[in-house]
């Protein structure tokens, strides 16, 4: 989850998010280099004692400042396209979960083998236990087996919502009447938080998403328990 005064991304919990993180580091480094160079040039131009500063024509520098930005852009484009193709690969998921957005909660349906469905409401601040996170915890978490490709079908029952979990690198709009698909692999066990990412009314900020990734046996135990309770 996010922590106070955080500047960068949350720690990656899926391979795609790791790639996105590294690509962001790469692009940001290029941006820093360019900004430092420009700042240096500005300071050098402004603080020199030379009198003849305004040279109007030079072929070499024209070649350099045409070719160098083109090369930099290619260096940004190639990793970007690589990740684009990586995110879109056909991945043969082990489990399909439907995440339906309502005003103002999410409901999850695991219908591959049995019919398991439950709602996931935010825990109000006054009911939190010590150590729980304000505006982020829910009563039922979406539990998934770790290291398995999961497909999530996202839709909405009333207005637009958006199912987002930043540490898994996933965001997919929930459009009523439309089924959107996203997929991910949780590479480690853990609890990953996200929040609804499309304005949907009064409690838009109060319908979080919690994904809990556990080993497969624990997932099977959890789903049998949930089926019994329902």
């Amino acid at each position: 989850m996010a922590h106070p005064s955080q500047l960068g991304f949350q720690d990656a919990a899926s391979p795609v998010m790791e790639e996105l993180l590294h690509f962001h580091d790469h692009a940001l480094m290029i941006v820093f280099l360019i900004s430092t160079l420009v700042l240096y040039i500005i300071i050098a131009m402004v603080s020199t004692k030379l009198t003849n500063k305004y040279i109007l024509d030079s072929q070499e520098i024209e070649i350099v400042w045409t070719v160098l930005p083109a090369v930099i852009l290619i260096l940004i484009a190639l990793p970007s396209l690589r990740i684009l193709y990586l995110m879109d690969e056909i991945n043969d998921p082990h489990l399909t979960i439907k995440a339906m957005g309502h005003q103002w909660y999410w409901s999850y349906e695991y219908t591959d083998y049995e019919n398991l469905g439950f709602d996931s409401y935010m825990i109000p601040t006054q009911d939190l236990n010590p150590g729980q996170f304000r505006l982020l915890e829910t009563d039922h978490r979406m539990v998934i087996p770790m290291e398995s490709p999961i497909r999530v079908l996202v839709s909405a029952e009333d207005v637009l919502h958006s199912w987002a979990v930043p540490s898994l690198g996933v965001k997919m709009d929930a459009v009523p009447g439309r089924l959107n698909q996203t997929a991910f692999i949780a590479s480690r066990p853990g609890v990953f938080y996200g929040q609804c990412s499309e304005i949907c009314g009064a409690n838009h900020s109060f319908m979080p998403i919690v994904v809990e990734s556990v080993p497969l046996e624990h997932f099977e135990n959890w789903s049998s328990l949930m089926l019994k309770d329902a």
């Binding site: 030079s58 024209e62 045409t66 193709y85």
Partner: protein, 81 residues
């Protein structure tokens, strides 16, 4: 126009990379536009062939570059329209 470009480039060699990249950009954009126009992405004949993208089989390669997907082995998932 080409002759003028050539004469300018001889006098100012700094123009050469600029011409090159502009040419690359224009040709890349037109090649891609032609690829889209010739493929099943555009509806040219609204009476006889209104939605050509609905007639593709599951083995159609819709991406520009096939990195790891083996398109020949894909099967159709889901029901027909």
């Amino acid at each position: 126009m080409i002759k003028t470009m050539y004469q300018h480039a001889k006098k100012h060699p700094g123009l050469i990379p600029q011409f090159f990249f502009v040419f690359l950009g224009i040709s890349g954009a037109s090649v891609y536009l032609l690829r889209l126009a010739r493929g099943p992405h555009v509806s040219w004949d609204s009476r006889n062939n209104p939605e050509p993208w609905n007639k593709l089989g599951p083995t159609y390669q819709y991406k520009l570059v096939a990195v790891t997907t083996d398109y020949k082995r894909l099967k159709k998932e889901g029901p027909d329209f």
